[in-house]
Symmetry: C2
Subunit: 202 residues, 2 copies
DNA sequence: CCATAAAGTGAATCTCCATTCATTTATATA
DNA sequence: TATATAAATGAATGGAGATTCACTTTATGG
């Protein structure tokens, strides 16, 4: 036997895989899905174009994997925050504030994940992602209704209204440039929170 | 002089132009911007591919023109409804119901116009379109605040929340299939209306 | 019917990328 | 060091689709 995969090689491959995903994520964060070109991803990761295909069978799979990795992380973070504390109002506020803080770090990326159509593999992941967000919101709403804090409404529909509302107000085409001032950002976030709380409260 | 453009020719050209725009709109309504191919547009309009270029200098201009025509019409309709009546609650409800009725006729088209990224010409039109919607909402909100019906809030931000919320709930990726049942559709619309009214009311 | 000008045509061209693959380089064991 | 195997390379290939243009058809007025 003259060759076997060693730890070192496995680690280096894993590292390269991560680099490729990061490079692709960075490109999406700059210009959405259409900015992802296999040659650009390769260049950004410091490898040759062909190498990308040793890690991902196609561009569609690469983009879907980026989508999966990024959204799973976001859902985990949001889930943690939304499960913290007993008061559903506080939890709702926390969820929105968390989304805001994170989405505004990379608004174009957030927009792509939430709204930008992509190939079928991406669309399938999007459904998973969106359902996760909707689930988190619905849980808060259900608890709030059970505790008598929130008015009884169809939680699935209301969850969509809330997610759509804050996403639009934060990263939609008319959203103010949040790179600008801290105070403007805070006004936006608190207005959104108040809007949502008022809409669901008893 | 052996040739001059006659009424007949002008009319036929205008008709062809309209056909091309309709064909392109139809394609967007089926699969979004990426479904627009110059050869498909030509085929759908019953002309040769080259003919499209006698009416529009490029695909980008054609799509932008479709965007302009469709959204101007939608904004006009919405503006009419939103200006009808004195009671801001009724006007808000009317605006949302109108959007719902129209968007659900062609959900994929509505999604493209509102959310789907496109080339720079389209993005420029989108800003115009979205500002028009936001303006209509803001007017209702301002009147409501002035009349003491609505709570005082930053109307621009709230307008975005409302537009994002109802768009998401009606045509977002998790929106129920409204081709299904009339009653489900009505439940969705009334839930959204209640949500928005509650959020803005005093 | 003829001459002129525009409208219409669609195959050929051009561009952009995803994907492939013959070749080179690196790693592991004997 | 020599051999075996895998990883990496990047130029070449292939396909999709936007755009062009030499040619054909249609309309107009004399």
């Amino acid at each position: 036997m003259a060759y076997r995969e060693t730890e070192k090689v496995i680690a280096r491959k894993e590292d390269k895989r991560v680099r490729l995903i990061s490079a692709a994520r960075e490109l999406i964060a700059e210009g959405g899905f259409s900015s992802v070109q296999m040659s650009s991803v390769a260049a950004a990761a410091g490898v040759a174009t062909g190498t990308v295909y040793r890690y991902f069978p196609s561009k569609a799979e690469l983009v879907a994997e980026v989508f999966r990795v990024v959204t799973q992380w976001e859902v985990d973070v949001m889930g943690q925050v939304a499960a913290t504390g007993d008061n559903p109002r506080v939890r709702l506020e926390g969820a929105i504030a968390t989304f805001a803080k994170r989405a505004l770090m990379a608004p174009r990326l957030a927009y792509a994940l939430i709204f930008e159509p992509g190939d079928p593999l991406v669309e399938a992941e999007r459904i998973v992602f969106r359902r996760s967000y909707a689930r988190i919101m619905s849980e808060i709403l259900k608890d709030g209704i059970a505790q008598g804090e929130f008015i009884s409404q169809p939680v699935d529909i209301v969850a969509n209204c809330i997610v759509g509302g804050f996403a639009e107000a934060l990263i939609g085409p008319l959203a103010p440039d949040h790179a600008a001032t801290q105070s403007e950002r805070e006004e936006t976030i608190s207005t959104i929170v108040n809007f949502c709380l008022k809409a669901v409260s008893k």
